[in-house]
Symmetry: C2
Amino acid sequence: MKNVPYQTVFVELPDIEPLAKRIGAAPTGTRSDGVTPLYTVPIIQDHATGAVVSESAAIAAYLDKAYPSSGATLIPTGTKSLQLAFRDAVSAHFSAFRGFMIQGISPNMNDRTVALLKTRLSEQGIDYDAVFASEDKEKVWEKGMAGFSKIDEWFEGNEGPFVMGSEPCFSDAVLGAFLRYCRAAFGKDSKEWRNIVSQNGGKWVRYLENFAPYETIL
Amino acid sequence: MKNVPYQTVFVELPDIEPLAKRIGAAPTGTRSDGVTPLYTVPIIQDHATGAVVSESAAIAAYLDKAYPSSGATLIPTGTKSLQLAFRDAVSAHFSAFRGFMIQGISPNMNDRTVALLKTRLSEQGIDYDAVFASEDKEKVWEKGMAGFSKIDEWFEGNEGPFVMGSEPCFSDAVLGAFLRYCRAAFGKDSKEWRNIVSQNGGKWVRYLENFAPYETIL
């Protein structure tokens, strides 16, 4: 999106902390005990400047500052609080899918990543094996679908396919990432993804297609 | 905020629908049955143009269009989706206070307004008399306080006291309204309001003070 050359390095969940420490990436929060530093991806390491930045909004702000005239402006002046609120609101709507996503993505994860995920969830009081056994499965799914419709309403009357119009911004990266996560977790041919595809007149597939120019072939 | 002369007419809950119909204000949604039109305040009736507009974001858009060079621009170009997401996120954080606010504000309401409120809540499956009897009272309050800290994080590093900087926008009207609602519901001298006042280094009282130039004396 910033039209800057880059290479993606995928990192298994248990390898994030040692990698972050090795390259000097700061923790982005604390674990559920409120004390132990929490290391997360994405992290950016800019070999051109030596900068190492973690946490997606901080990365967006860094890229806008380091490459002001390249690609889209991710956080246009004055919109930072709005972009963070957008991330918060989208994250809340997608939280309904957490159980579905864990179930969907686990078969594609390495055992040691699943093991750490289980530990982290149990630290938050969430029983990994029970999270999806609930009888409210259909109700939770409906809630997630209602979230999509709510997000769809925000776009009503927009000039252009993106949150702020014709150019993508940080909030588009957030929403696009959640949608890609759903697609990857459920699988393109799954009942769940087909359900999302049919939601809001096919809006979400069209929305993801707008990112094609910015996507690397994986 | 738009520096346009106005007069506020306060309306009791049961009087909103007949008033809206009389002046030709559209419903803003449906009741919990998903069918019956729902009429809400705010509604604006502009005697200069004859326009009648309901729903706060629509009112903001109307005012920007009808009075483009007067006062603040409530929804700067390209920010509409972001402003709606902001309202959604703030509303979700404040929802933790619903029980507290109902309890706090009820003694100041007329009987027929309380009666309608009870009916509407019961239609949503919420028992008005039990909503506050829960044992999780302290936990719910903590959740609300955590919401304030989350909102505070959005403001970090902002240039100016408002969401978008030195000028207030629609999102400020939303956040300011929720804060005023809390203050009115709990009472300025209540334990609850003092707790909010002490949160985030006194941020929320300072934030409300920024609205002083825009406030009518009630």
